[in-house]
């Protein structure tokens, strides 16, 4: 496959496959909380792989700081993988926490959250994916959903908190 040629598929197939997965999880687990955890876990696995894909397909310069990394992730990462842009705002004074806003969230296109699943963070996979991606880049973070369109908010917002900068440890055989 030629590099940099980004192949594309029907976005609705994607949206519906995600929905079908969430439906399956709700069937398999008893609490919304457990489903949130599973979605986060799956997101993590995806995020870790996305970083590789991103670096292989773009000419992005190395990001020097956590702030810069988050901005690149929001702007270029989201555009490359989801075709939408996200914005970063509300940095705390120590540059360790920020808010990521997804303007036009593709996952929720056909979704209505039933009343009995008010605790479900339908888009929780985002949190895992961002955490996974940042962890591969040596930033251990906590990512939580703070605003959810499905619960009546105007947009989807996540809060990213930097917990620890991991040491760049080479694999033992190097």
């Amino acid at each position: 496959m030629a590099r940099r040629e980004v192949k594309r598929v029907n976005g609705e197939l994607f949206t519906m496959t995600y929905g079908a997965l969430v439906a399956q999880l709700l069937e398999d687990y008893e609490s919304d909380d457990e489903v949130n955890k599973q979605l986060d876990k799956m997101g993590y696995n995806i995020g870790v792989r996305m970083v590789d894909d991103f670096i292989a397909n773009t000419n992005t310069e190395r990001c020097g700081s956590f702030k810069e990394t988050c901005t690149t992730l929001a702007k270029e990462g989201f555009r490359m993988f989801l075709g939408v842009t996200a914005t970063i705002s509300n940095w705390t004074a120590d540059d360790k926490e920020c808010t990521l806003t997804i303007d036009d969230n593709p996952l929720v296109a056909f979704v209505e959250l039933p009343d009995e699943h008010r605790e479900l963070n339908y888009c929780n996979m985002y949190c895992g994916a961002i955490r996974g991606a940042l962890e591969l880049l040596q930033y251990r973070t906590r990512v939580t959903m703070t605003k959810d369109v499905l619960k009546g908010d105007k947009d989807t917002q996540l809060t990213i908190t930097l917990l620890e900068v991991l040491d760049d440890v080479p694999p033992p055989e190097d």
């Binding site: 980004v6 598929v9 496959t17 696995n45 792989r49 993988f81 593709p106």
Partner: protein
């Protein structure tokens, strides 16, 4: 649901937007990984994937029908098959399916083949999974689609030497009227 418009009140975009293939591949592989951890056998795994596929199929065909300006009802089995090969495949994978054949001796069984099944491109199957074909998911989509058109069928995905992935579509004899054949 205070400020948000209901999904049904929003206009359906005329052309669905695209998404990066890698994103889809990663999501699908998580679906497969998750399902694998919850079953004990390959047939059970394929069955579960088909259930997930069916959920997608029902919804996808509904949006397709809404976009379809011809609003023609497909009442012949061959129209239904042509719909699968062309319309459904184009919507799903951006190209028609490669081959459609009737199983000799049976007017209700057909094989729909794709040399390069999108969902299988990124899944490598280890030995202990033998003849697993993750296109069972696509089989589920097809099952839901034909069911919605009034042509219930059982669909199974097989790996066939030289043809890639073949979906064996077996329509239910008892439910297909003679004049549809």
């Amino acid at each position: 649901m205070e400020s948000r418009t209901h999904p049904l009140d929003r206009a359906l975009p005329r052309v669905p937007r695209d998404i990066s293939l890698s994103t889809y591949a990663l999501l699908f592989s998580e679906v497969v990984r998750y399902t694998t951890n919850r079953v004990n056998s390959v047939p059970e795994l394929e069955q579960k994937l088909a259930v997930i596929g069916r959920r997608v199929g029902v919804r996808l065909v509904e949006v397709m029908a809404m976009r379809d300006r011809t609003s023609r009802r497909r009442i012949k089995i061959h129209d239904v098959l042509a719909f699968l090969q062309t319309n459904l495949w184009r919507t799903l994978f951006g190209k028609p399916a490669d081959l459609l054949e009737q199983v000799t001796s049976d007017v209700c069984s057909y094989m729909l083949s794709d040399h390069d099944m999108l969902v299988n491109k990124f899944i490598s199957i280890s030995k202990e999974y033998g003849d697993l074909n993750c296109a069972a998911f696509v089989g589920g989509i097809v099952e839901a689609a034909v069911d919605g058109m009034g042509f219930p069928a059982e669909v199974a995905a097989h790996t066939v030497e030289g043809k890639g992935t073949t979906l064996l579509i077996k329509f239910d004899h008892t439910k297909i009227p003679q004049e549809a054949l």
